[in-house]
Assembly symmetry: none
Homo-oligomer: 401 residues x 2
Amino acid sequence: MISLELIREISRSSPTKIVLIVLDGLGGLPDALAGRTELETANTPNLNRLAAKGICGLIDIVGRGITPGSAPGHLALFGYDPVRFIIGRGVLEAVGIDFSLEVGDVAARGNFCTINKAGLVTDRRAGRISNDECIELCRLLDGLVIDDIQVLVCPVREHRFVVIFRGEGLDADVTDSDPQQTGVAPRVITAPQPKASRVADVANRFVTRAKKTLAGHYPANMILLRGFSQRPKLPTMGEIYRLEPAAISVYSMYRGLARLLGMEVLKTGTNIEDEFTTLKQNYDTYDFFFLHIKGTDSAGEDGDFERKVRVIEEADRVLSSLISLEPDVIIVTGDHSTPAVLKGHSWHPVPVLLCSKWCRPDRVSEFSESACVSGGLGRFPATQIMPLAMAHALKLTKFGA
Amino acid sequence: MISLELIREISRSSPTKIVLIVLDGLGGLPDALAGRTELETANTPNLNRLAAKGICGLIDIVGRGITPGSAPGHLALFGYDPVRFIIGRGVLEAVGIDFSLEVGDVAARGNFCTINKAGLVTDRRAGRISNDECIELCRLLDGLVIDDIQVLVCPVREHRFVVIFRGEGLDADVTDSDPQQTGVAPRVITAPQPKASRVADVANRFVTRAKKTLAGHYPANMILLRGFSQRPKLPTMGEIYRLEPAAISVYSMYRGLARLLGMEVLKTGTNIEDEFTTLKQNYDTYDFFFLHIKGTDSAGEDGDFERKVRVIEEADRVLSSLISLEPDVIIVTGDHSTPAVLKGHSWHPVPVLLCSKWCRPDRVSEFSESACVSGGLGRFPATQIMPLAMAHALKLTKFGA
């Protein structure tokens, strides 16, 4: 396997530009009637033109049969072995709201939820309370000190918040309190190893305090915590690829992930068109752009086949503005599949297209799962996307004499 | 990954014969007008017949996106992981001129070059001086002893020579003096680690002496050194595969590489037909032949699309004489791509065909980059060519009970 160390050795800075467009959860499955996936159903003249001019293939994100979460999905796309580099959900949420996570902090993703009188979870999202209410409730829980550990509580949006445990010698290897289902009680947080027992203890005491504080705040009368984690040590994309990378995403988590990898996060608006406008406005300043489109995944998760089709079509429309900039390399792919019929992430390989002056075109003239099967890029691990992008941008020197 | 150790365990000697034909830099890119690569443009009835009868695919030499040098390219074809086994340019040049490199010798590739009065390089190849002049100048520089280290200087051809530093406890981990560009001064050779500081020091003193000696020999009034290296420890092909391997190449560097791997280097002439004649003459004596064709790469490096097409067509013509010998396995491939439009090595995968009585034929009936995409061998690492060749020659026993 080609290591990041090898790539770092042969990478060189150059004025060429790479744009990586990630349609979150792009890959799909056919609907029962027409037998076509979301991408195959969508009318995508621009993507098809790029596919015809460029080269296509299918990527495995973690490995065949493995369904990736959002973090491993994106890490793989950026060239980081997602099995080697693990980023916890708590860390992702924290960096996603610009919380300045210190080395050693333990972060967890929190949900305000609803429990009934028997203490069983009836709604894991407390009816998706408003942002304002989230801010207000976080203020009630924030600022405790338990066993010398500072407990910081920050709102994210709706029912979501982050809790950060700050103190000396903390270990994040504890279980979730979130049972990921309704009809059961929140779980007690436990530490499989003694080194994390202090964090488990403090977290449980925090949950107990929160339950008391929230008692009168139905439907947000309890909290669920998951993804306890600490900031991992990662080489930045600038260090590895000698790039000046920028990230554009409407969603905080992806901005946070990009920031962890040393990307400059660009301010953008609320929809796909805003994201492409942001790219254009900053085009001269960076040589790598990660543009993230969330709607495909959200629609897939909701089981809304038609909406996923529409998001793909919208992305295709605004793509024309990018094509006119003539970046040296355009890559369009996803961080995993989210077939509407499965209502969730899946293990299916993700179509990818790469368009560049220096690609060897194949016979694929349509960007779809079934056409990509016979694409010239073949089927390959997602971690090889970045070396391919770098090569086609002529940013990699020769390996060996 | 299948290790050389595993292959060694299951390899057995047998009378069957394998011929591996390497068209250097075979893979190409389409020209702007016709949209066909060099191989797709060439008229290749024999290669197409082999492709139809055999099985095709595409190989990655080092990995997707990685552009290999000649040494890693060939090492991979012979089954040696090119990231694990590194052969320096100096060693390659030395063994390529039959210089008998001792263990511990440090070899560097040298160029006679031109510098101006300000000491800046104006021509990295000194106008490609004649072989005779190269021999004469090497004689002037040869035979120094600096700090108890013997400095041997041997001509290669035109502006190229090899310098060998011979002494006790030398380490080759020093930087190049060759800046790989004009308009700048030759670089001072440095040692990143103290253990190599003596070699750096002696090499710098040698360069200074050479500059004085060559002062009146414009355009060859200076030297550039690069690729300081020592002979690596490699298992031979005989040890791994239990083969009696022979190498046929018009070019010294490939003969040298073959010799490092324990191949017998056969005397041959100056063109492709000579090489095939040599093969025929020695057909009974060996059971593995590496036949190297350089012209494809040279034409690609020169950006000469038409010449590359002609070299491929010439190779195709003489191939008929080999086919009539009916070797048990014929493989035709390249050590990397050298698209004429890129005028250099590239990362693009290389078409490969394998023809044997025991292959499972696919539907590919034409040897070309685009046809090989859908070949039965699929897309795979070049290091798996040798196990495939051995298997089809029935030279590998079963693995496991």
